[in-house]
Symmetry: C2
Subunit: 230 residues, 2 copies
């Protein structure tokens, strides 16, 4: 079963059976109940995780106590490869927003794996680089776009990343409060509420308590990209 998960995640995808076997052999299982933290910002980075079930929030806290959500992770997502680096510390919090199960490797296991399979080091580099580019794009977005478009893009990302298809549209499969969306887009829960209400009135989305369902993706994409109304 772990092997299947490895095969499906990007980090191990397409690697040799030997590599997967080695990786699975030294993996451990960990369960984290809803609301609990996998780790905190500032902790020494001892473990690399691959989520099997549940969703978790990647966030930072400002010195003033304000939270910034950098993303949500779901099944098959890799988190904390920084643990491969000696002396590294986690740069953010990872908190379960649902009960989660994950595979995990400690530094020793990771070190052995990377030595035995040098390709894994390049994969790690590629993974971090990819994340870096994504973050860079979001930095640009935050620096140049208005709130409505930022929320539109955040929602589209969430739907792609952790969406669950339903009769009326695609629902974000993790609990998602207005406050969460605000902390993802650098705005306030009030502004998010106003914008979601407006979209709901136009039939673009349907919402509920901690729930957002995207009904008209093309329309939201037009808002996100500022294309002409079709």
């Amino acid at each position: 079963m772990p092997i299947e998960l490895l095969r499906q995640c990007r980090y191990f995808a397409g690697l040799s059976a030997a590599t997967l076997d080695d990786a699975a052999a030294c993996a451990q299982h960990r369960r984290v109940p809803d609301g609990e933290f996998f780790f905190h910002q500032g902790d020494e980075a001892r473990h690399f995780y691959i989520l099997a079930t549940g969703h978790a929030r990647l966030s930072q806290i400002t010195p003033e106590g304000r939270q910034v959500i950098l993303g949500l992770a779901g099944p098959r997502h890799e988190i904390g490869i920084i643990a491969a680096i000696e002396g590294a510390i986690y740069p953010l919090d990872l908190q379960a927003v649902q009960a989660c199960a994950a595979l995990t490797w400690d530094r020793a296991a990771l070190g052995t794996l990377l030595e035995a399979h040098p390709l894994l080091a390049l994969r790690a580099l590629r993974m971090v680089s990819t994340r870096f580019v994504e973050l860079q794009d979001r930095y640009r977005e935050l620096a140049t776009e208005r709130v409505e478009r930022r929320i539109a893009r955040a929602l589209l990302r969430l739907v792609v990343q952790i969406g669950r298809p339903e009769a009326t549209g695609v629902t974000v499969a993790a609990p998602l409060a207005r406050q969460d969306l605000a902390e993802m887009t650098g705005t306030t829960l009030f502004t998010v509420s106003r914008i979601l209400s407006a979209w709901e009135a136009q039939g673009i989305i349907s919402t509920g308590r901690e729930r957002v369902t995207l009904c008209d993706a093309p329309r939201l994409t037009r808002i996100a990209e500022d294309l002409p109304e079709g």
Copy 2:
């Protein structure tokens, strides 16, 4: 001479003489005149650079043509390790803001080096991770801080990174227009101008055309961190 530069930059610092020799052996030299581009966003990433002299701007362009500056690079800075990854493309522009000289490695040389010295792959991972964390902190800053504090922090970073000590303070050693600071902090040149004028009136900085000198670093730090006036 190249070896000396390698020894001083973070990526190669502390590595064995054999590694440095190998790296120097396959390095090439490149000069880039003021205003020209090392590479463009979207180009296939073929080269890794270490700047020897001059300063260069890391920037992105939005689809609407608005520029966002992600940082300035100076001597000893490493840029484009992403070239180690097959098929990667540069995620940003690198443009000389002064005449620059750099050491550069192409993908083939980089591949050979990384294979011969596996530590270099982990170093690369560490470097990208460090940059990632820095970017993440700036993302948080942009999401939560007001303009004045963002400009204060940007200026403090520039002074640390590429500052040149002078009689009256520390000057940012690259040409730095109000527009540049605006594009670094997600605001407009008008707002930057107003804020710099206010700081100059208080004796915190002194400015000129495309020049900023920090005179009272503790005071600017208090603005950046929102500490009480001392």
